[in-house]
Point group: C2
Chain length 451, copies 2
């Protein structure tokens, strides 16, 4: 039994302690928890044997930085992860409380278990194992763990863009994605970007009686409905002028590879999503809709009377949270401008609409033909006993684009989540066999890189 | 100075006490306040000198019944009002607390001041004055004051439909409408009906990550938007098959009378509503849109993440409160069936939509050519020193239709509210000169009827 196998129960205890911290970055009342989580990560990095581990303060939540640079002449890897999590709403749909981790079967259930505390912890424990058993690492490593991934905070982006010498590295390793299927080692080479904001719509100066004014009064909820329907039709086509102009189609080779993936649409729809049917652009394969096509999605809406019973009011205002996911080669600024113009064009008379961007991140697409990705695939193959597949993800990890642009390094997306991990949803979980194999896979990766 | 003028300050004190009771019928936690308000009305009727005053218990909130039948051979009037009120939301937009009446200028501000406690109190004080000064009334009167007008409760409807002997009357007098303009005595001869309900839409079984699933997952908020836009276009045309088939156009005479009313569209839009522009069917005059055309209106919507910040979720469900106002000669059951079919037809794939009716009321339209309405116009003219005008209202008073169908009596809608009373909205008010003149006008009406 190797070090990693011997220490599984201790790793699990540490992860559980990490998951107990409700470090929700979108809610300001959790600022103290954010700091506790950052400090937890710093202590773990110190305990793992890294020579430096400190908090980098700045605008927003602290970054955790650590390093071990005792392998001159060897490559330097920059590990990235995040210690913040999504809000747990709707809390009453959780089978166990979101910040009281519970193991059921082979899974640990808690907010952040998969996204991204579990995967961040994998990186730390991988390094710990090598340091504790050999006293050194086969390559140089740096850690940069942030606390604003879920809220679009700009601390890490500003820091990375300042190109500090301590971020000098040959590749970034990001463990924040998922495996395509259980036991199928997966490298993610493409991510969607995002522009997320709030659409405020105002009509009359005050709420109006729908009997006295209905038929003549502007209705901000109806206006939001009209804007949403103008921007996206029932077939999922986005009607924002110019929006598809830069959208790059996947190569024939990539499309063929995707078609060979073990994807079962019925299972995906009915079991994973619990839905009756999929929606979206007819004629575009599901994986391409998820990975290579932009979206327009409404995440929340609030307006008027929503309590028990009936109130015959035409509300004065309503607000919706809306995002668009971008794909290569769309550009944030251009897409945002197109979206704003389309909202203005779609706004019905009698109301004023304003869209405020909350955060944005660029899409990314990496050529898999480099040694850092090839070695990652080899490490995964050794641990999971299968050839790794190359996929994309529909999600957004904006820092990947920043690593590319500011540091000039590729990112290796070695993910150990699973498609049914309920990210951002109730009952988020992490598959424990992937947690343990993930730790060993990252350690093996460093060995291969240094070998 | 007559009795009514001598007792104005006492009347105002009594009204203030009535308004302090938060008798919100749509919220179950206010049940005790409902009962306090009913008991308050009963005590006021007893104190006014009516010979019987009791609560009628049944399903829902109590009815208050009272009578004075000492004028044999004279007509019998059934006074109707309601002691329940709308919820005060949004509370933070009130300049003074909704249940702490405050007089500013010539207005008293409180929830229910105009709709309908102030107007119900007018009826009681009118009768009180006649009984206290003459020891009798010129006609027989009955009172039936309910506590579910704002929540669509069916107690009064069931009771009236049972045709109890104690409701035998020649006409109903309803003070729950408004004057077309300050100092312009107004009789309302038409009301819109209503079907109000909740639209529940469900997609996946749980909230989904918009990165992982966006582009393929059904979105219940988007689905509600699509249903709303399918049911009503940007020009206010309702696209529910068959919905307009029974809609009766106003007579040329009525249209001419409406065109002569002192209606200023710019003032109505900018000052009364605080809006930039009106919406609705092009080519249909505003008053006709408000009084003689059906509506489809969304009153509230809730779904997904609406707290501070950003959450990239595709929600599993969303709900909207929706009503349609009906006009003569639409029928509740038929219109409800048409609406349900249209929602089913408009529901996009991937989601399930269910519409649950919360309450409904029939539209009504009365021929003004009868003595009860003519005498009311005369009484109003004497107090306000102007010829009364005949209008309709866009609001709904379902009981008027029930009086017609179950008791076979016309309803006289003598309203003393004003268009800017902010019914169902923050800062509801009642114009005190109308309160005091209203009391005298109702007393004069009874004198004319008995003369």
């Amino acid at each position: 039994m190797n070090y990693y196998q011997q220490h599984q129960s201790r790793f699990l205890e540490g992860l559980t302690a990490f998951l107990r911290i409700p470090s929700i970055s979108t809610l300001s009342e959790h600022k103290p928890d954010i700091r506790r989580a950052a400090e937890f990560v710093r202590q773990e990095l110190l305990a793992a044997g890294l020579t430096t581990a400190e908090l980098i303060e700045g605008q927003g939540n602290p970054l955790v930085y650590a390093e071990w640079l005792g392998a001159p002449g060897k490559p330097t890897i920059l590990f990235y992860g995040h210690y913040d999590v999504q809000p747990p709403d709707p809390v009453d749909e959780w089978m166990s409380p979101p910040f009281e981790p519970q193991i059921r079967g082979n899974d640990i259930f808690a907010r952040g278990s998969s996204d991204d505390k579990g995967q961040t912890y994998i990186q730390i424990k991988a390094v710990e194992g090598l340091l504790k058993t050999t006293g050194k690492l086969p390559v140089n490593v740096r850690f940069l763990i942030e606390g604003e991934e879920e809220c679009g905070g700009e601390h890490i982006e500003a820091y990375v863009k300042s190109k500090p010498p301590r971020l000098k590295a040959d590749a970034a390793v990001v463990c924040d994605t998922e495996m395509f299927a259980p036991d199928l080692p997966t490298i993610c080479v493409g991510l969607r970007g995002i522009v997320y904001g709030e659409l405020f719509v105002e009509g009359a100066s005050h709420d109006l009686h729908s009997g006295m004014y209905g038929g003549a009064a502007p209705n901000p909820i109806q206006a939001i409905a009209e804007i949403l329907c103008a921007l996206k039709d029932r077939d999922g086509h986005i009607h924002i002028p110019g929006f598809y102009d830069r959208v790059a189609a996947p190569s024939p080779k990539e499309r063929e590879a995707w078609a060979r993936l073990p994807f079962r649409e019925k299972e995906f729809t009915e079991q994973e999503m619990g839905a009756d049917a999929l929606v979206g652009e007819p004629g575009v394969p599901v994986l391409e809709r998820l990975w290579a096509r932009p979206t327009l999605e409404v995440h929340g809406i609030r307006g008027g009377f929503t309590a028990e019973g009936a109130k015959t009011v035409i509300p004065a205002r309503a607000v919706a949270k809306i995002s668009t996911r971008l794909v290569a080669d769309q550009r944030i600024d251009e897409a945002t401008g197109q979206l704003l113009a389309a909202i203005e064009g779609a706004c019905p008379k009698g109301v004023k609409a304003e869209f405020k961007v909350l955060h944005a991140g660029a899409p990314s697409l990496t050529n898999p033909d480099n040694r850092f990705i090839r070695d990652a695939a080899e490490a995964m193959k050794q641990l999971f006993a299968k050839e790794a597949v190359y996929i994309r993800s529909g999600g957004s990890i904006p820092i990947v684009g920043v690593f590319d642009q500011a540091l000039g390094i590729p990112s290796v997306l070695m993910g150990f989540g699973l498609p049914d991990d309920n990210l951002h949803a109730p009952n988020e979980k992490f598959h424990l066999p992937n947690f343990f194999r993930g730790i060993e896979a990252v350690a093996r990766y460093l060995e291969i890189l240094g070998g």
